[in-house]
Amino acid sequence: MTADPILSVAGAVGGYGGADILHGIDLTVGRREIVGVIGPNGAGKSTVLKAIFGLIRLRQGSIRFEDQDIAGWPPNRIVRCGIGYVPQVDNVFREMTVQENLEMGAFLRREGLEAALERVYVLFPDLVEKRRKPAGSLSGGQRQMVAFGRALMLDPQLLLLDEPTAGLSPRYCEQIFQIIRDVRAAGVAVLLVEQHAKQALAFSDRAYVLASGRNRAEGSGADLLADREIAQMFLGG
């Protein structure tokens, strides 16, 4: 538990219209905290992020961000209030250039576009020379950076990342993790869903383990890593 959470989800129940996928999920994210979410495939990790971002409606439960109950808000309102989201798949505009992708991330921004672009290009120097290329033509890692950069364009307080390193080479993984640290250093809290459980646990301040739409365990990354049962279930021994 966190003393003064920026985000707190309590008793989240819901799904995609059919049967419930989430059966009462609780989680909190503190300021400047990196919180990991791990669990087997189909556990509902992505679904939790979608629920927070207003892409699916919960049947029960609350989602508080800062001092507001944001459950049921539409995504464009949630973006405005300071949450950025990088979906797991289809997270760039393939036919638009890198720069246009970033501009779309700042669609709600009336001023300071240049400065925001500059900040993102400083974080992702690789993107500078690709700025006129369509995002669809980039490699997986670069595309992930575009998606990441797009979500940062509005200077969010909280970033939701859905498996940002899936399918990336170790070089890119390391780079992405480094950027997450940089982002946190700049004062942003991060809720990170990860496949690479070991890496994620080692990297996060705290983490949750989900299975079948329920909380299975939570604790500091190091504690969870040390836990035998969890190690057996999710970490391959």
Binding site: L55, P75, N76, P87, D90, F93, M96, R150
Partner: protein, 290 residues
């Protein structure tokens, strides 16, 4: 047949028809791309635009070319109205229901034209227009202006889509609607904007068809097949594809009378449509496939 008569009898009319189809196909491709459904009322919306010009000409005696911008704006209003009344409430349900609704809208628009203006052929201005000859190539004034206006409209649209904030928002929505929404793009406004553009261009296409041939209540409906063929030929969602496809279909239709009875002109567009869907559904310029 020598080259010059080929140019005069087939190519020039083909390019004129092609530019009309191009403007129409842009509308089709925008709905297909940004809003993701086949808009079957597009032809009848063009008819409506053409007849609104006629109403202005008849009512005020103004030059049809001057009346065009007003009719375009009015048609844009109609397009947005149709969206509000008949399409928007279906968006949360299956997309194909919107296609069905649009067929109903096609019937309604056509019926309105038939009630108000009847079913006989009409023209904007009487009399016979003689073509001017440029180095042996004969082109009528109205053909020249049709081409010029098409170029202006297409270039303006390309600039809008390529360089303005809302134009980029339209492209973003066409590219990835979910991501557009969660990037904070106001997809409702973008949709309305898209309908506005569709109405503007649709009215222009209808007017150009009307001034180069004649006005009939079914003129737009008969354009539907070539417009769809052009949009799919060029690649769904691609404005430049729609222009290319429109030109190809227009020229091919005019040339087809060399070997095909003229009443089967529209069979050509249909054949192109089926061949493209069978062999290369993404079209020439790699568009979307729904």
């Amino acid at each position: 047949m020598d080259l010059l008569s080929f140019l005069n009898f087939y190519l020039v009319p083909g390019i004129v028809l092609g530019s009309i189809y191009a403007l129409g196909a842009i509308g089709i491709t925008l709905v297909f791309g940004v809003l993701r459904f086949a808009h079957l009322a597009h032809g009848d919306m063009a008819t409506m635009g053409a007849f609104l010009v006629l109403a202005l000409v008849a009512g005020t005696g103004m030059n049809p070319w001057l009346a065009l911008p007003f009719a375009m704006i009015a048609t844009a209003g109609i397009a947005v109205g149709l969206h509000w009344l008949f399409y928007e409430h279906l968006r949360r349900r299956s997309a194909i229901l919107t296609v069905i609704a649009s067929l109903g809208v096609a019937l309604m628009l056509r019926a309105i034209v038939q009630v108000v203006w009847g079913v006989d052929s009409l023209t904007y201005v009487g009399g016979i227009v003689r073509p001017e000859s440029y180095f042996g190539i004969r082109i009528k004034d109205r053909e020249f202006w049709t081409l010029a206006a098409t170029v202006v409209l297409v270039v303006a649209l390309m600039l809008f889509l390529g360089y303005t904030r809302w134009g980029k928002a339209m492209r973003a929505m066409s590219d990835n609607p979910d991501l557009a929404q969660l990037s904070g793009i106001d997809t409702r406004l973008t949709t309305i904007l898209t309908w506005t553009i569709i109405g503007l261009l649709g009215a222009a296409a209808g007017f150009f068809l009307g001034i180069n041939t004649e006005l009939k209540s079914l003129m737009g409906w008969y354009m539907l097949l070539p417009m769809f063929a052009a949009a799919i030929l060029g690649g769904v969602g691609r404005v430049e594809g729609a222009v290319l496809g429109g030109m190809i279909i227009g020229i091919a239709e005019e040339c087809s009378v060399i070997f095909l009875p003229s009443e089967y002109k529209s069979a050509l567009a249909f054949a192109v449509l089926l061949i493209m869907l069978a062999l290369r559904p993404t079209g020439l310029l790699r568009g979307k496939v729904l």
